[in-house]
């Protein structure tokens, strides 16, 4: 981890980080945007995963639903990453020392990587060709990953 320390220090000393730190309301305001976007992202992921289980909107082609949800997922993810980076800048050194933060980052990168590689392959696969077990498996992995990221974020505030 120590070779990442300069990056943490740079963010911690950045004027954006310091500005957020000095303000009484900036941190809560950015966090509010972070959580609203999180609800939207989790909602989109959830609806698609429940479709993979055959629970929501059965009969609607998975691919079609996925295509429709993709822009919502992407944009809310971008909002989350941007606001997350701002929050991180304001307490970079605290994050450096925080185990939940490290775990969350690993899970986050895993979730994003999974979402845009394996998961993407499964949801865009020909539904008549793919065995349903892969759909369900992908849905479970996706749900576990994304919800762990959310809970990891909550844990940063407590541990």
């Amino acid at each position: 981890m120590h070779y990442l320390l300069p990056i943490f220090k740079w963010f911690g000393a950045s004027s954006i980080g310091l500005t957020i730190n000095d303000s009484r309301w900036l941190f809560p305001a950015i966090e509010a945007v972070h959580i609203v976007a999180l609800a939207l992202l989790c909602g989109a992921i959830l609806i698609l995963n429940l479709r993979l289980f055959g629970i929501t909107l059965p009969g609607k082609p998975v691919r079609q639903l996925a295509e429709e949800l993709a822009p919502w997922t992407l944009v809310s993810l971008l909002i989350i990453l941007t606001s997350g980076l701002l929050l991180f800048s304001s307490e970079a050194m605290k994050a450096y020392a925080s185990v939940p933060f490290q775990v969350k980052m690993v899970l986050l990168f895993a979730a994003i990587a999974f979402h845009y590689t394996i998961y993407r392959k499964v949801i865009y696969a020909d539904e008549t060709q793919i065995r349903p077990v892969w759909n369900k498996l992908a849905a479970v992995v996706s749900l576990v990953l994304w919800f762990s990221v959310g809970l990891g974020g909550r844990a940063i505030g407590f541990l």
Binding site: P28, G43, A44, T56, E68, V75, I79, L151, R154
Partner: protein, 216 residues
Amino acid sequence: MARQLTLESVSRPSGLDYAKRVFLGLIAGIIVSVVVAAGVWTLSAAFPSKPEATPVPAIVEWIYHTNTSSGIRESLWVFPIIEGTHLLGIALSAGALCWFDLRLLGLALRDERISRVWKYVMPVAFVGFGLVFLTGFLLFWAEAATAYRSPHFWIKMGLIALAGLNALFFETKLHPKMTEWDIAVTTPLAARVAGVVSLVLWTAIIITGRTMAYTF
């Protein structure tokens, strides 16, 4: 009467057009969030938190001194777990509900019947609402006296009551006639208003919950 539209005749948006609409929608969402947050902040500044020593009603005092209350408040794990579940509940309730609202507004899932979106999306939201209300009640129980003194808590309760009224309006006035505009992309004005009101209120409720934590 329902317009003679088949689901297939509803044009599917082209990729770029759709992405643009989503983008504009989310920008609008952020602006609304910021405006709402500023509103909440101004309101809470107008009614500052009452000082520690402010007497609270006997019932609040009693709740605060129950074993369950101090148990949750002082525990290392129970409070974070309840709050984590609260957060999960938010993602399930608001996260699912927003798809129904966005369908009412004709912004998402346009080629799905509204009744089908209701049937498959709302049960998820109801599970989420069950979770948030249960965990929210426990969190209140643990911090009853602090919550009572916080303006954010009362603003949040007011907003939840308004969201409840909006839902009641939808249930009694609009839901019974839902089949008449089941496949319409542009739903009746009242339905669109209910959708916007729901989105704005739930955004505000989430934000108030967050700002409340910073005054504790």
